[in-house]
Symmetry: D2
Subunit: 328 residues, 4 copies
């Protein structure tokens, strides 16, 4: 490959997710393998604007493949949304001699990359790093697999105590706009009911489902609630509602919170990250830009960033059906 | 041993804790080994009152040593606090031919056992099953070791995301009256500050500590807060307070909640449970009663229940000092 | 669906794998949901021959979704390979009134099912349960995801001690005929070299790779070796060979062994099992037979059993390349 | 404290164990807290001889409390057993201005420290870091708690597959001279029989025990074998022996190996390490030397190194008895 690209920057941007370090490692090692220079850009676009750079060689990323979080740090950056911000960033990249960058993040990060490319023709490549799995163009985003395992492990623990006391638990999981974590972890944890942003089943159905569950002889019930569920009630309000309308249950609430973003990545996320990093660097060297690396079945694919950021992913209707059947 | 005891009941009572199943298994297997009959009493004292009994042999407790929760279920029981309730329970035990019982639980459960023995001269033995480690007469209660590992694992995950974003986290852990979980898990997780019910360090100290931490170059901070901490503020109020008085921090909150009660018991808790069950049954057969089995260093010891329930345990001052030094 | 099938049997056969219990649960619950009777067949085809059956309702499979192994037990069965054996099995099924069965297992189990169908026209459906991921017609087999995480967790631990002593480890993982576990877990664990049955890279390359690794400043090296690797040497012989030809290394060996088959299934395997069970039962009721349920990308698909058992899966060449690049 | 000690070295020596990093961190932070300089000595006594030193401040040990292995590396060092070797080491320490050192390791490491002190009057303090728990003067050594949990987790996985196939497993665990890991993990994992170096129960008893287990209706059996067990047979030979003399069993073998040394330390080991580091540094500043820090019940204690290295610890007879009862 006789590419004009001699030095590639890599950054993580937006909310962190497990596997980001493995993706950074992959970008850095691929550059080393292909004799391209690699520069780590700290704190996302903010660090790009401030020139917070560090040269990385293959050894700089030893022992990080199995670590959660991101050694490059991450941040949301208002300034990069402005023309002036992006100008500063471009100046810094030029000064450092960086010819292209790989951004690991979500929709917001990709939008920024697109605008940047639009203004400066600067080659950019995206890797979808978010636990929400809400990006078109990849069946799995980096961190999703780890996150659903973290949720399932937590719910397995909650079920121990729920069963011992014949209790009903409302467990809030991440997902403001999408219910992928809730749905997958809910099926994996054997939840009684799963409330997601994509559907409003109504509170009546919830009560019916809980009554049926109790009648069927189950000793406990777990209801998974995505942050952005459409009942109009959060988990605390749901608890009150059920206690009022279905007083047969001793109800408890658990909000899993930020632990869902952390943790050592699963093997799936580590492998996915390793593959995505290789694909991102090689694609840049092949002259491609404005693309996002994704996985379809077991193959790496590219999707234009413009398309990736366009719309939300659909919830898997078949899995909703499986979920319903499993609660028989 | 020529004991008059031919049939022993076993129950779990109060909040559940990891290792209760291992203790049930141990009581049952010790009875089988010593050719004593064993009866499982379901749902704590409530099941005793209702005669919710089941004969257990050695095989009844296969494959439960590594399971959280309690197969006997647990419950808090108001009725057992009344003379009438205890009368009903005694009638049921007599009817079933049970000569003695082992109760796995906390202070409330032991108080009930004592009153019962007081009225009927019925042999009772206690095993301290609670994650709070707040029972005099045992250096460790059943479930404490598992709970602190659960907390530390969760905080390790939270630290990943905290470090990636340079954030401050307030993490609420269990402990309404005692800070053992907070203090041990806080030291184990490398927390910046630990707020416990036994001490009121004041909010000033907290701000000082956080400022010093920031100045020292730490990329993130975790503050552990026991439920019953004495600042007068819960984690959400602490967040607001710090955001107002120390605006250099991006602050988040996490309430770990009920997952702390569940999970597969650690090896320590499984071994402890196995030893306690043997000691409890053998002590009953030796004619002892009104005692609690405990561990001191590596030895099993007995403590009168009357003493065990008397007072709370002391917080470990040396460990508080270690905690302070570690945050240097 | 007006199907003639009123009673479905389910069995696990061959080597066990994590997720089998979740698949059993799914088959049972789907039957209950669709008002079909369901019968558990114990110990694979052996239990079928012996009529080792038990009626299962929705509650029979409570609390098994998160358990490794198989509550139905598994076995390899010579007798089912004979015409007489299959005759006995058919008699037992007829006697019990079973109209169709779902077999969860690998190639051997599917071959048996096909022969059985061929002789008796009995409706059969397969679910690929094996940690080896070596079945055509499904991108992932049940248990593979759990197994690679088990391997990666073990190697993460081994790396701790390897790094502390600057050692080289040969780690043997399962895979007599295929290297999917070795390759995926090797990439996930950041292995230096991965030896698989599908490739013979030769011992020279191994020495070169280890020399390069040492020279590049790595503090330790892990080489993953699938059981069926083609160097002609097992891990103990590889140790000797390297000690003789590359005396710069302190070499150790670890054989991970049977723990790779066990463990609580990951969320991925639980969800996959749940989906496969639904698809298997519904396909039978739609009149289909001799098919295996699989996953392609995120969709359930059917593949004729005759095709599924025909050939081994290909190793992922792109992932081999990623593996090479990552060891830079 | 007006101590003459102004600069303290810290090293890890011998086999590594989980919690060593937490102990290093504690020594370093305690020095920083007390305004003493601290120097990390790499690769044990070998690095001391070679002057492989690095100044450590409080931030040098960020984010290591939860990591297995040792950032200081460890090694066994023949040269330090010679007078010349120790002379070189002393010269290096003097040159660096180090006034005292803390060595984290086992008996061999303590013997070296004692000889060194004997020749140069150099203040030394020991912290018992070994998974074997075989050091007099501390109820628990650093890493033991993590190791038994690693073993129990592995056996839980093996039991899944053992139960599914009604198999007998011989599982070899670490312990050449002592059976503490085998005994504790064996009880924790519900093993059928535990073979340790301290006892020779004889092969007859093993066969009897296995027969009884089979007769009692258990679906699988796990026998734990410490490396140094006294039957005169290793796990592979035991397998053959049982297959020959008790052909009712399908037997398998698993050697857990080096993964037992690694892994993130448990909360217990992290807290123990933190406490031990504080105690070691403070004791040196109080003018003490030639002591080992240990834990008795919940208190820190000192034991003369000369005593600590004298003899092996006793196996816990009561726990052996518990183990026997549990296999009923």
């Amino acid at each position: 490959m006789a590419s004009k690209i001699k030095k590639i920057g890599v950054l993580t941007s937006g909310g962190d997710s497990p596997g980001m370090n493995a993706a950074i490692r992959s970008v850095v090692r691929t550059c080393a393998y292909l004799k391209i220079e690699c520069v780590g850009i700290y704190r996302g676009y903010q660090g790009m604007i401030e020139g917070d750079f560090k040269t990385f060689d293959a050894r700089s990323v030893n022992n990080i493949i199995n670590k959660g979080g991101t050694i490059l740090k991450s941040a949301r950056c208002e300034e990069f949304r402005t023309k002036e911000g992006r100008k500063k960033a471009h100046d810094q990249l030029v000064k450092e001699g960086i010819d292209a960058f790989v951004v690991i993040g979500g929709n917001g990060s990709f939008t920024g990359a697109l605008m940047f490319n639009d203004e400066y023709g600067f080659p950019v490549m995206g890797i979808p790093g978010t636990i929400d799995n809400d990006i078109l163009g990849s069946s799995y985003t980096l961190g999703f697999d780890t996150a659903i395992n973290t949720v399932v492990d937590a719910i397995d623990k909650i079920r121990d105590t729920a069963s011992s006391h014949n209790r009903l638990f409302f467990v809030e999981v991440m997902g403001r706009d999408v219910g992928h974590i809730a749905l997958n972890a809910g099926v994996g944890a054997g939840a009684e009911e799963i409330l997601i942003p994509e559907q409003n089943l109504g509170l009546e159905r919830l009560l019916e489902s809980l009554k049926r569950s109790k009648a069927s002889g189950k000793s406990s019930s777990i209801v998974i609630v995505a942050e952005g569920d459409k009942t109009g009630k959060n988990v605390f309000e749901l608890k009150e509602y059920v206690e009022e309308h279905l007083p047969i249950y001793d109800v408890r609430v658990s909000v899993l919170g930020h632990m869902q973003r952390g943790g050592n990545p699963t093997c799936f996320d580590r492998v996915l990250a390793s593959r995505m990093g290789v694909k991102a660097v090689e694609s840049l060297l092949e002259g491609k830009s404005n693309q996002m690396v994704g996985i379809r079945d077991t193959k790496m694919v590219l999707t234009p960033l413009a398309e990736a950021i366009k719309a939300h992913t659909e919830i898997d209707e078949e899995l909703i059906r499986v979920s319903d059947i499993m609660t028989t």
